[in-house]
């Protein structure tokens, strides 16, 4: 499903070159639930940004479903993110002007689906993540864990091939974290959702099929 070869990402800040990824090769199979672990600063987020098409690698190749995504134009990358990928950020990243439901169905609306279909699908997914009674709530009316579940619902609404989550539990208490991880596990088991999750908590490993350890930009 995902094949990356010799991926590097070097940040250039003036004369300083930060080698965040130093040549990573990796294969992720369809239906896998993978966790990426490593110390802070080891390059986990950087790797996920490359996979999620939020950033451009310095070198190397990323094939998703056989497609070399580094060759896509800005517009095509945007469309690819919309239709093929779901991304959950470490910090809560929901749009404050939109209700929970609107946040969730926005990507589907962008796909050109009928508004009513979007609303129905949005309600459906919010029910699945346990927020069926929070449809019309705004960001400031939701707890951190609830916001994160809205973000997950939004990432799932277009039935992405791969779901990326960058430390989705970093700002959550252990109960909320457990809920999120259970949700991922369920999605992975029931819908064979491919999930790539960054974490630095050891106990998260037990939910995942495979662990990839990153250290100083290398596996």
């Amino acid at each position: 499903m995902i094949t990356i070869t010799n991926l590097t990402r070097t940040y250039v800040m003036g004369t300083v070159h930060v080698h965040a990824l130093k040549g990573i090769s990796l294969k992720i199979n369809k239906g896998e639930f993978i966790s990426i672990m490593g110390a802070s600063g080891s390059g986990k987020s950087t790797l996920l940004h490359q996979l999620g098409l939020l950033d451009m690698p310095t070198q190397g190749e990323i094939l998703i479903d056989g497609k070399d995504v580094s060759k896509l134009s800005e517009k095509e990358r945007s469309l690819f993110r919309l239709t093929q990928l779901g991304y959950v950020f470490q910090e809560y990243a929901i749009i404050s002007e939109l209700t929970a439901l609107e946040n969730v169905y926005l990507p589907m609306l962008m796909m050109g689906r009928k508004k009513q279909d979007c609303i129905n699908a949005g309600i459906d997914i919010l029910n699945k993540v346990g927020l069926g009674d929070r449809l019309d709530h705004f960001q400031h009316e939701l707890s951190g864990g609830q916001q994160q579940r809205v973000a997950i619902a939004r990432a799932l609404v277009n039935k992405p091939k791969i779901l990326f989550a960058d430390e989705p539990c970093a700002n959550l208490d252990s109960e909320s974290s457990r809920q999120v991880l259970e949700l991922f596990k369920k999605l992975n088991k029931e819908l064979e959702q491919t999930i790539v999750m960054v974490t630095h908590e050891n106990w998260h490993m037990e939910y995942t099929d495979r662990v990839i350890h990153l250290k100083d930009g290398l596996i």
Partner: protein, 399 residues
């Protein structure tokens, strides 16, 4: 494409709906003031022009004026010319006048100017200066020893104006008039008129009968004014008059006054341009700042939108739509405000030295200003929206 617009619209609506109401109202209000400013000044300039035009017709030259050919002093056979013209449908009346330079004397004071002669009943049909009488009465046909004077000649009693008038002549007073051909007559002042208009208050009127005796002429005229029932038809009638065989100089009021009113209006047009440019710059700055602050505040949200696959253009367009919303709301409120101001001023016109002026609103002017305001606002809103939406996703989200 259509769907992209739909999403832009969705985002814009939610943003307006859930954004700060106070800011929105203030924005709309400022744009409405800018819009009023854009159309108010030009409409007053147009109003001034209209007032001058109306006064020219009503007091100075009627709709069409016939004058002697260049090499002649008087129009010959004035009566027959008037008869021919009066037969045409749509001609309300004609008034033939003589004109002579003259000096007025009263109580050791003198003032030079000119005297016009009129057939009182003909003149009444053509011009309106009789309605400006502030004292005394209008002339009768046989009043050979009486004169009507404008307020600029009589002056006001007690008002010290130096030598520029006769220092307060009253109705019933007698004044001496020396005509340019040397004839001296003594007249009783029958009436005094005051018309807030350019020049007219410097006129003096005597009867045609009296003037013919002063000048020693008959059945001639210095000018014949023609009043038409409809303004705007002057050119047609000018052609008709030529076809009737009138070989004198024929000018419409517009031709007759083109020089004076034209140059006055031209000198305003520079001011109009300056005021328009300033208004548009204000609009650009206001919209730019509002959208700039808006997008900078929402930089992170814009980054998130891009991250989840909302295309950059959709985001930019959502701001453009917001600008359009503010702009058209501002224009609507501005039109309302302007309507209120204009209807107030049509009841209570502004008093200018040259007469009462009310704003004249041309639809073309409004349309032009709507278009320029919208275009400039769009540019002013697009630039900050484009800049922010163009930023790298990760930078936008994490700064």
């Amino acid at each position: 494409m259509f769907n992209d617009l739909k999403v832009s619209f969705f985002l814009a609506c939610k943003s307006i709906q859930r954004g700060n109401k106070g800011t929105s109202i203030l924005t709309v209000f400022i744009i409405s003031l800018i819009f009023v400013n854009l159309i108010f000044f030009p409409s007053i300039v147009d109003g001034v022009e209209e007032t001058l035009n109306r006064q020219s017709i009503e007091h100075v030259c009627g709709n069409v004026v016939i004058e002697p050919k260049d090499d002649q002093r008087y129009i010959d056979n004035a009566d027959s010319i008037e008869k021919k013209i009066n037969k045409l449908p749509g001609v309300v009346g004609t008034s033939s006048r003589y004109m002579s330079g003259a000096t007025f004397f009263y109580n050791n004071k003198s003032k030079s100017g000119s005297v016009h002669s009129i057939d009182p009943s003909d003149e009444e049909v053509v011009t309106k200066f009789h309605s400006g009488l502030i004292a005394g009465e209008y002339l009768g046909k046989e009043n050979t020893n009486e004169i009507l004077l404008g307020i600029d000649i009589t002056g006001k009693e007690g008002e010290v104006t130096g030598d520029s008038d006769l220092g307060g002549v009253q109705v019933g007073d007698k004044i001496d008039v020396t005509f340019s051909n040397g004839v001296i007559r003594n007249y009783r002042v029958k009436g005094i008129f005051d018309i807030s208009s350019i020049n007219i208050n410097r006129y003096a009127f005597i009867t045609e009968k009296e003037m013919e005796s002063v000048l020693g002429v008959e059945n001639q005229a210095s000018e014949i004014l023609v009043k038409l029932s409809q303004r705007g038809t002057e050119e047609e009638y000018k052609t008709n008059f030529i076809e009737l065989g009138i070989s004198e100089d024929i000018e419409t009021w517009r031709e007759k006054t083109a020089g004076t009113i034209g140059s006055l209006v031209d000198s305003f047009s520079l001011l109009t341009i300056i005021s328009t440019v300033i208004s548009l710059i204000m609009a650009v700055v206001v919209i730019f700042i509002i959208i700039y602050i808006n997008t900078v505040n929402k930089k992170r949200q814009i980054g998130i939108l891009k991250a989840i696959g909302i295309e950059q253009n959709v985001i930019i367009n959502s701001y453009v739509i917001q600008v359009l919303f503010y702009c058209f709301s501002g224009i609507a409120v501005g039109l309302l405000l302007f309507g209120i101001i204009a209807s107030y001023l049509s009841v209570n016109p502004i008093r200018f030295p040259l007469g009462y002026v009310e704003p004249v609103v041309e639809q073309v002017l409004i349309l032009q200003n709507i278009i320029s305001l919208v275009v400039f606002s769009l540019i002013a809103g697009f630039i900050p929206a484009w800049r922010t939406a163009n930023e790298n996703i990760l930078k936008a989200i994490w700064g």
